[in-house]
């Protein structure tokens, strides 16, 4: 097969359907940008999960004297030394537990002062109003429920709190947004595919004279179809390149510059350039394989041997 001949055929085809080609490029670019965006979003959520889950604990708050009067969980009075050592021993026996640290009332008071030292409430607080607690790091942060069932309601325990629960609300929101983006992407993709199929058919119809002659002189099916498939692939690849550009520009302006989220939200570690770059080959490959396949199936009916 002569490359030059095929290339000139592709050029002719793309120019002949300029508006359709443009529509294909734009819809492929948008759908793949959304596709890449949603991939990056899940990566971002995962990075955040990894980062935050490492820092979160399950806390078992123990009853103090005040709780004994006000909290129904502590009706049996403040926690005793026996209960404390029993809880510690039980915790250390559990396989899901990684480490256990004890926070005394004094330590809790100190931490509270550090965090909320300026508030009026802090100055009226005394150490014996604080709760003792066990801070437990789990091997798998998802296993919070095991601790909760084991210690909730036990004598001397005021409550079992999972900090992860707070984060999960945030992650669920982010995931929800991600799914919405994927739904939009899927729709865009369908639109893009239908456009490609239509473009290829128009293209095949406008060149039926050529393809008819090609068939008669014995050009192979592949040779006849290749220009049309390549046409779709080239248009798709241009769209895919645009999508890649969108992602790179997007990361540049959202995280580093422009909105500069990295400066404003220092507590979040954002995905790096390497993660964005790693997605680009996938997007480029999709951008030309998908239209090429669509064209191939669109032509099966139109260019029979």
């Amino acid at each position: 097969m002569r490359a030059q001949f095929v290339l000139s055929e592709i050029g002719v085809g793309l120019r002949r359907n300029l508006t359709m080609t443009f529509a294909v490029i734009v819809s492929v670019a948008l759908s793949l940008a959304l596709f890449g965006g949603s991939l990056l979003m899940s990566d971002q959520v995962n990075t955040m999960k990894g980062y935050w889950y490492d820092k979160v604990n399950v806390s078992i708050f123990l009853c103090n004297k005040n709780d004994a009067e006000s909290d129904p969980n502590c009706a049996k009075g403040a926690v005793t030394e026996d209960q404390k050592s029993q809880i510690k021993a039980d915790l250390e026996k559990m396989s899901v537990v990684d480490t256990v640290t004890y926070e005394s009332q004094d330590e809790a008071y100190k931490h509270y002062k550090e965090q909320f030292g300026d508030s009026p409430l802090a100055s009226s607080l005394t150490p014996d109003q604080m709760q003792e607690s066990y801070r437990i790091k789990l091997k798998d942060p998802e296993k919070y429920q095991v601790i909760a069932t084991a210690f909730d309601g036990r004598d001397g325990v005021q409550s079992v709190q999972d900090q992860k629960g707070l984060l999960d609300n945030l992650f669920e929101l982010l995931n929800g947004m991600n799914w919405a983006a994927r739904a939009v992407m899927a729709l865009m993709l369908v639109v893009a595919l239908m456009l490609i199929v239509n473009t290829v058919r128009v293209s095949a119809f406008s060149r039926r004279r050529e393809t008819g002659i090609m068939r008669l002189v014995g050009a192979s099916g592949f040779y006849i179809q290749a220009p049309f498939i390549m046409e779709a692939a080239v248009a798709g690849l241009i769209g895919g390149t645009l999508a890649c550009a969108f992602l790179l520009i997007g990361r540049y302006f959202l995280i580093d510059h422009g909105l500069a989220l990295a400066d404003q939200l220092e507590l979040i570690n954002f995905i790096g350039w390497d993660v964005v770059l790693a997605k680009l080959p996938l997007i480029l490959a999709t951008s030309f394989l998908m239209p090429a396949l669509a064209a191939f199936f669109a032509l099966r009916k139109y260019l029979k041997v």
Partner: protein
């Protein structure tokens, strides 16, 4: 070269067969006229040879291959050994004469050197030497048909299929085309030509096959057109 064994062809959604139980053989190097009124099955006969259609019953052998048994992707290989010429020329209007002929070689992957050599040669053969760079629109009907014959012949097919090649041409031009086809036939290429042109058939005195309502009704060596219409 061509063998039909009890071939019938029924198109989908039609009750009357286009061809009924046709058996015949065409030897290498023959020149065969295919005559019959419109709807007699001539086109179906040619389409079966080109394997644009498959026989409903019976076998069609072309160049020793049973066309009912070869798979779709091998069909182009058969077609490369056939040349086809039509009443409406089927040239590409935006390509020059030389490009039109070269197209037949480009699409089957011939090298540029080969194309540069064979295109002028075949254009000389059909009497179009010096008109390589003309566009088809600038040529007369007879000249356009010569381009089409050049394109059909440039890959040196063993079999040339012509579907009313003189149907759009005046009698004098037709004679020129027939002389050209005769010359091609003398190089050893088998020619099968469907036609309505009584004068041509009567003058050439070649084998005549007549179809009527899908049946083979006459197969005559050195025949004449034979019926009035």
């Amino acid at each position: 070269m061509i063998r039909f064994d009890n071939v019938s062809k029924v198109y989908p959604k039609q009750t009357r067969p286009a061809l009924r139980d046709v058996s015949l053989e065409v030897e290498k190097g023959e020149f065969v006229f295919l005559v019959g009124s419109s709807g007699s099955g001539k086109s179906t006969f040619l389409r079966l040879i080109l394997r644009e259609e498959r026989a409903s019953h019976g076998q069609v052998h072309v160049l020793g291959k049973d066309l009912g048994r070869i798979s779709n992707w091998k069909v182009p290989q058969i077609r490369r050994q056939l040349g086809t010429v039509f009443q409406d020329f089927r040239l590409l209007p935006n390509k020059t004469v030389a490009e039109n002929v070269a197209f037949a070689q480009e699409v089957i992957g011939k090298s540029r050197g080969e194309i540069r050599k064979s295109v002028p040669q075949v254009l000389d053969l059909v009497g179009l030497g010096g008109k390589e760079d003309r566009m088809p629109g600038e040529l007369s009907g007879g000249e356009q048909q010569r381009v089409a014959i050049a394109r059909a012949f440039v890959n040196r097919p063993k079999l040339l299929i012509c579907d009313e090649p003189t149907g759009n041409l005046d009698p004098q031009t037709s004679v020129g085309i027939m002389k050209l086809l005769d010359r091609i036939n003398r190089t050893g290429t088998t020619v099968v030509m469907a036609t309505h042109d009584q004068n041509i058939v009567d003058q050439m005195r070649k084998r005549v096959i007549e179809l009527e309502k899908g049946r083979l009704v006459r197969d005559q060596a050195r025949g004449v057109y034979g019926y009035q219409h």
